[in-house]
């Protein structure tokens, strides 16, 4: 009788632990959702990518312009130094 009671209690205990383990990730996702959706559908994805690409192109263009400006300023600075230096 004691043995069967022990066996039953063990079974109940293992079942409870299994249920808790099964629901733990679900509760974590519910409390701190990392993937709550909604899923972006293709049409929205394309437009988001287009927007991102346009921004990236703009940044690249600005970078090129800045580089060109730096090169020009360096040349001007060197030229001025050359003019100023006594030969």
């Amino acid at each position: 009788m004691i043995e069967s009671l022990f066996g039953f209690t063990t079974l109940v205990g293992i079942t409870c632990v299994a249920i808790i383990l099964m629901f733990l990730p679900a509760v974590v996702e519910l409390k701190k959702p990392q993937d709550a959706g909604p899923r972006l559908i293709l049409d929205f994805q394309k437009r988001t990518l287009s927007h991102a690409k346009l921004n990236l192109t703009n940044i690249e263009e600005e970078f090129k312009l800045e580089n060109q400006q730096i090169t020009r300023m360096t040349i001007i600075h060197v030229m001025e130094n050359l003019e100023a230096s006594p030969i």
Partner: protein, 432 residues
């Protein structure tokens, strides 16, 4: 004697449940195998039939303007499209809002139905719209849906095959983050569309036309007599009518559209009760015809019958569980030998029509990272669905006894709760 009958019944129930489990595993493996090898069908730019889009609307003032905005931005040739908003006896501003859009866009028109002629359900509203449509292909959208701009192209291109009678697209839950219920519904939709419908299309079975985000060939449906207004699920009824007439139904998984899912358990009950009762009506109407049809292949008959009976499944599982427990207590030797069927039954029991495997793989293919962690909560929605399906069955049986064939339509209320989750609508407007 009684024990033998109960044992035979238990074995039969277990075999049927196992059949559904095997079906879901087959579906999942088929979709996984075809992920990379099956591209979406290419567009033939010369195939651009005329299209009529029906939007039945009964008191949809919170959502109607959103869908009409989307309709105005469809990429399909506007010369070949007409949009018919069926204002079905609305008592709010739905009709007025629709009229404002009809004034702005000449390809939109409004069909007003008053309280005498209208308000008799979606099937009646669609029949009215069908009667005034002129397009070769007719698409249907519920008023709370937000389609992608190229959805018409993606659905219509499947009709290039003259044997295709209907095409179904894919709804995506917009208000998924709203609460636990909407997140569970999103999971159900993933299993149902990303795996179930996709697999049925790959295997040449019968994908279900869902009555929204989809369309049909107008001449076929007119020959069939339009939508059956006595059916609560006129879409499922049309699915089988078209299939039994020898036409194919295709699934366009890339034709995606946002939908607003119900967000209260009471609304969920009403919606699923109507689906279950309607589906059972369709089962009684078509099961024998599917079994004896000369136009359906064997695999289409098997899957068609499984689909028709799917809303009986939760009731069956509950009964088999109770029966199994009773037989164990009674010391039945058969149940002792078939103890492995208990876990099988339990596995389906907690799966809510589709095993966790189907939904999990569907979420993975969608690129989701953690939403599938919520799957254990589907146990509770399954218990709820068991009650819903049981009630639907008894309501249907009682209705037939007293001669009430249809019952209340029970329209789903849309309050626009999905609108706040429109992710990039602002960015989209900047590029239009």
């Amino acid at each position: 004697m009684i024990n033998e009958i109960l044992e035979s019944t238990f074995i039969a129930f277990t075999l049927i449940i196992s059949l559904y489990l095997i079906r879901h595993f087959i579906f999942t493996f088929i979709v996984l195998r075809n992920v990379r090898t099956r591209p979406f069908s290419k567009q033939n730019v010369n195939y651009e039939p005329t299209v009529s889009i029906l939007i039945p609307a009964h008191n949809e003032e919170f959502v109607i303007s959103k869908i009409l905005e989307k309709m105005a931005r469809l990429s399909y040739d506007k010369e070949k499209i007409e949009i018919i908003i069926i204002d079905d006896a609305s008592s709010d501003e739905t009709g007025n809002i629709a009229e404002e859009y009809a004034k702005l866009y000449n390809f939109m028109k409004v069909l007003h139905r008053d309280a005498l002629t209208g308000g008799k359900g979606k099937a009646a509203a669609l029949n009215a719209g069908l009667g005034s449509s002129t397009g070769e292909i007719v698409l249907c959208f519920d008023a709370d849906y937000l389609p992608s701009s190229d959805i018409v192209t993606k659905i219509v291109r499947k009709f290039e095959d003259p044997n295709v009678g209907a095409v179904q697209g894919r709804p995506v839950v917009l208000n998924e983050p709203q609460n636990i219920l909407t997140r569970l519904i999103a999971l159900e939709r993933i299993g149902g569309y990303r795996i179930d419908q996709e697999a049925r299309d790959i295997l040449g079975l019968v994908p279900q036309f869902g009555g929204t985000v989809g369309g049909f060939r107008r001449t076929i449906v007119e020959c069939l007599g339009g939508f059956d207004e006595s059916m609560l699920t006129e879409d499922t009824d049309l699915t089988f009518q078209i299939s039994l007439a020898g036409y194919k139904i295709r699934y366009a998984g890339d034709a995606e559209c946002y939908e607003e899912a119900v967000h209260t358990w009471k609304a969920y009950w009403r919606q699923r009760h109507r689906w279950a009762k309607g589906h059972m009506q369709v089962c009684f109407k078509h099961a024998f015809k599917v079994l004896t049809s000369k136009k359906l292949k064997l695999r289409q008959k098997i899957d068609g019958l499984l689909l028709l009976h799917i809303y009986f499944l939760p009731v069956l599982i509950l009964l088999s569980f109770i029966l199994g427990a009773w037989l164990i207590i009674a010391g039945s030797p058969i149940v002792s030998a078939l103890w492995f069927t208990i876990p099988l039954s339990l596995y389906s029991f907690i799966g809510n029509y589709a095993p966790f495997f189907e939904i999990g793989i569907g979420a993975y293919l969608d690129g989701r990272k953690r939403t599938q962690w919520l799957m254990p909560f589907l146990i509770f929605s399954f218990f709820y669905n068991t009650l819903i399906c049981s009630k639907a069955f008894f309501d249907l049986a009682a209705g037939r006894l007293i001669g009430n064939k249809q019952g209340d339509w029970g329209k789903t209320e849309h309050l626009g709760s999905g609108n706040r989750y429109i992710p990039f609508l602002g960015a989209m407007e900047a590029y239009d």
